[in-house]
Amino acid sequence: MSGVIVGLLWLLSCQLVGELAVRLTDIPIPGPVVGMVLLLLVLHLRHVDEDSPVVRAGNFLLSHLQLFFVPAGAGVVVYLGVLREHALPIAVGLLGSWLLGLAAVGWTVTLLTRVRADLPGPLAEGPEEVEEIE
């Protein structure tokens, strides 16, 4: 169990540095996202393996990511009246822009992948790199 505590220390340290950096520089990014970039650097520099404390603690938290959104999500009860009153624009806005955004990112990345795959030489994407779903 001590491993998990060490891992949690790493995660919290990265978050703290991220939060401080965001406040000191006034950049409009949340601290944890900066912390994620920091941890990426740490993992890269320290060559951590799959069984290291930070990986075990991090994987545990990630496998329950959905749980951590529940307290904020339950805030929907405060806005039930607003949701009912503006049901049409909210439903159309949420569903429509979600679908358009999903298609925009998905298609841009895959279409450009296909174009590149058609090119000969080192620019081409090797077949082993394109992972398709069975």
């Binding site: 970039v37 959104f69 999500g73 405060v78 624009p89 949420l94 999903l102 790199e129």
Partner: protein, 236 residues
Amino acid sequence: MRLHETWSWLRSSPLPWLLLTVGAYEAGRRLRARTGHPLAQPVLVALVVVCLAIEVSGTPYADYRSATQLIAFFLGPATVALAIPLHRHAHRLRGLVARMLLGLVGGAVVSTTSAILLVRWTGGGEALQRTMAPKATTTPVAIALAQRFDGVPALAAVFAILVGTLGAVAGPTVLGLLGVHDRRARGLALGAVSHGIGTSRALHDHPVEGAFAGLGMGLTALATCVVLPVVLALVM
């Protein structure tokens, strides 16, 4: 029997709400394992149970929120931990960086612009348009952006979580219908429109999709912060 004292202790203790939230989430996990149905997302099951309990018991949301502070706190270190799958699959980024950035910045423009215009065309007011605009970003960013650009911060958080849950439920199916089969593209797209909640579905489906969803989420947060002021200046 000190029934009255015990009852008032129970009412002010965070324990019942913590238990209910974690219990409903665990029930959702079991439902997912048993049925495998896309609607059986732990976050959705937990939200339905918790919202019903709040409504039925007449508890002010602020009380529930402070009782479950402990759970919400872990969103921070969990977001930091998204670096782990990303690090493991970083080699798959080779040759993809330019396309990915183009896709994600384009996605942020499409998401924010279409959210504003669709709300406007269906009769939503300016405050609602400004609140809807940042909803694709992860909850803390959506809150910060709504605050900065005259939306309603708490409602922006609700929109973000609704759209995240939508992604967890329907994202993989819709990506299949759209013909997006490359695991990296699927992950990026799901993270870009449904942030951490979509990412958790992606992590559950496939490790590569999960890693790229985390990346899509993080970069979309950045891109939206840069793009939103420009979009607002152009379309508002």
